[in-house]
């Protein structure tokens, strides 16, 4: 079965650079989530989209923005990168339409290293 696809798997950037992470959700999933996981921490919710509209916002810095496109893929844009942005970034998708709170299916993550 198709899973959530994230690219790139690894990304190395310097401070103050920008980065764009991409996510392709499972087909027919209507909700996309972005999470940030620092070393030894649990995933922290950044932002979510339902049917291409932002549905919820978590602890996402103002330097970050995200959007979901007409083909349902999503991009997380990160500017003015800081050392503290080094983390594993997960995208997850689910089907929320039935209101049954289906599980989040996570991609393999993008490991961002800021030097």
């Amino acid at each position: 079965a198709a899973g959530v696809i994230q690219s790139p798997r690894h990304l190395i950037k310097e401070k103050r650079e920008t980065a764009t992470l991409k996510c392709y959700p499972i087909p027919r999933h209507d909700t996309v989530y972005w999470y940030q996981q620092g070393p030894g921490q649990d995933p922290q919710f950044l932002i979510s989209f339902y049917e291409k509209m932002q549905s919820d916002k978590g602890s996402i810095p103002d330097r970050f923005s995200a959007q979901q496109f007409s083909d349902y893929h999503s991009e997380l844009n990160m500017s003015s990168l800081e050392l503290g942005d080094s983390a594993l970034y997960f995208c997850a998708s689910s089907f929320s339409g039935s209101g049954s709170n289906s599980p989040l299916h996570f991609g393999n993550g993008t490991r961002l290293t800021v030097t």
């Binding site: 909700t31 921490q41 995933p43 919820d56 594993l88 929320s96 209101g99 709170n101 989040l104 393999n108």
Partner: protein, 113 residues
């Protein structure tokens, strides 16, 4: 407020031992969902199970079993006859009716040969 507590930060067992990972949650909602995820050293998050708040039936899947008790707000996870491949960080999570998910801090399980 929604909250998930995994009090065990790290557990070490020897292969073939049984091990239980604890998860306690807090919510005022009557409808909610509980999840377990596994994060092996390779980093991906793997979905293991989902239970809704109206279904307290325990579940067994191979060597894995889950014990959901609303009376104690717990959703514990037991691995029977642990194997080295079970070594991972395990996250318990709570989902509400607005598709918001709350993760516990995770329990790192080390299974030694």
């Amino acid at each position: 407020a929604q909250k998930v507590t995994q009090a065990q930060t790290e557990i070490s067992v020897v292969e073939k031992e049984d091990v239980t990972l604890d998860c306690v949650y807090e919510t005022r909602d009557t409808t909610y969902y509980l999840f377990w995820y596994k994060q092996p050293p390779s980093g991906e998050l793997v979905f293991l199970i989902r239970r809704n708040s109206f279904d307290e039936q325990n579940e067994i899947s191979g060597r894995y079993s889950w014990n959901f008790q609303k009376s104690t707000s717990s959703f514990n996870f037991t691995i029977t006859a642990s194997q080295v491949v079970d070594s991972a960080v395990y996250f318990c999570a709570l989902g509400d009716n607005f598709n918001k998910f709350y993760f516990g801090s995770g329990t790192k399980l080390n299974v030694k040969p």
